[in-house]
């Protein structure tokens, strides 16, 4: 005779450990007046070029640093270091995303001094990074015009987890017949009210508006943390 099973309710969140660490990081960033910005996108959408330009443009006036996640190679960190900003590579091995404990560990072993902006470039992947909070205050999801307008519909979860959509490589929009209106509609469908920035790291188009946006958010963080 099979014994009757007994059901016990446990209700334990599987990613609780990550969420707890992320919350602690977020508190630390806010207390120190740092705006932590993470970047997610598919591989090849232009995260590194975009970040390199961001670091270069902010560096004269702000203290900036970047953490960059990759499965292998330090190529991205080397590229980003050209901006002159402190950059640290997190090599994930076979893991397809960053987790909060990797950010914490990278920061603990890194004497980077006081910062205004910390950028976190996630591994190029539109699936798994959506489940992991990294303690960032702002998550940017990048979509390059060469990828097609329907990316938001194919990967709604990552778009939904992000705060702002950045359409990159806008200088190529005409050549690849990118339909901006359709991309906007798709983004608004998966995340109603989402702010969308359109820019090109290569030509500089749209970068000024993006920097203004970042500075506004940074000022907002400082005001809140000063209270």
């Amino acid at each position: 005779m099979n014994p009757q099973p007994r059901m016990v309710e446990v209700r334990r969140n599987i990613l609780k450990q990550n969420d707890v660490l992320a919350a602690a990081l977020r508190e630390r960033f806010r207390a120190e007046g740092i705006l932590a910005v993470s970047l997610v996108s598919s591989p090849g959408s232009g995260k590194t070029a975009f970040l390199e330009e961001t670091l270069k443009l902010l560096r004269p006036n702000y203290r900036v640093a970047a953490l960059v996640g990759d499965l292998a190679t330090e190529n991205d960190a080397v590229r980003l270091a050209r901006s002159g900003a402190p950059v640290k590579q997190i090599t994930t091995g076979t893991l397809c995303h960053l987790e909060a404990n990797m950010i914490q560990k990278a920061l603990d072993d890194w004497d980077v001094g006081k910062l205004d902006f910390l950028f976190i470039e996630n591994v190029g992947n539109l699936v798994c990074p959506s489940s992991y909070d990294l303690g960032e205050d702002l998550r940017l999801v990048l979509l390059s015009v060469t990828e097609g307008e329907d990316k938001p519909l194919k990967y709604p979860t990552i778009f939904n987890s992000a705060d702002v959509a950045v359409i990159t490589k806008i200088d190529l929009a005409t050549a690849v017949e990118f339909d901006e209106a359709m991309a906007d509609r798709n983004i608004q469908a998966v995340r109603p009210g989402m702010e969308v920035l359109k820019l090109s790291a290569k030509t500089g188009e749209g970068m000024a508006a993006y920097l203004q946006f970042l500075k506004r958010r940074w000022t907002g963080t400082r005001t809140v943390s000063a209270v």
Binding site: P5, M7, V8, V10, R12, N13, P156, G193
Partner: protein, 103 residues
């Protein structure tokens, strides 16, 4: 996690793990089911079942002023009135909801 819960209850054998999985959790039911047996080998969960309850996306509709299902995970609109909103009440769950223990 299962091991802790089992120990808390006198090392009872776990027959099944009930998981609540939101459609927005970023985790795929089929992938979990297919890897579960392998992941459980040589652990206290060896031989147990994984039971997954999928949780649809539910939003708070600002027009209807109540909880409503979203049209789909690609369309964050109230199924009743079509208002678009990002006020998500359910759908991000990834939690072990219950365990079935052998008496």
């Amino acid at each position: 996690m299962a091991q802790e819960e089992s120990q808390l209850r006198g090392n009872a054998k776990i027959q099944a793990v009930h998981l609540r999985l939101g459609l927005l959790s970023g985790v795929v039911k089929e992938a979990l089911l297919s890897s579960y047996e392998m992941a459980c080998e040589t652990t206290v969960l060896e031989g147990s079942r994984l039971v997954i309850e999928e949780i649809p996306v539910e939003i708070f509709c600002p027009t209807c002023q109540t909880a409503r299902p979203a049209q789909s995970i690609q369309w964050f609109c109230c199924v009743e009135c079509g208002t678009a909103t990002c006020d998500i009440l359910h759908g991000k769950e990834l939690e072990v909801f219950a365990l079935e223990l052998e008496e």
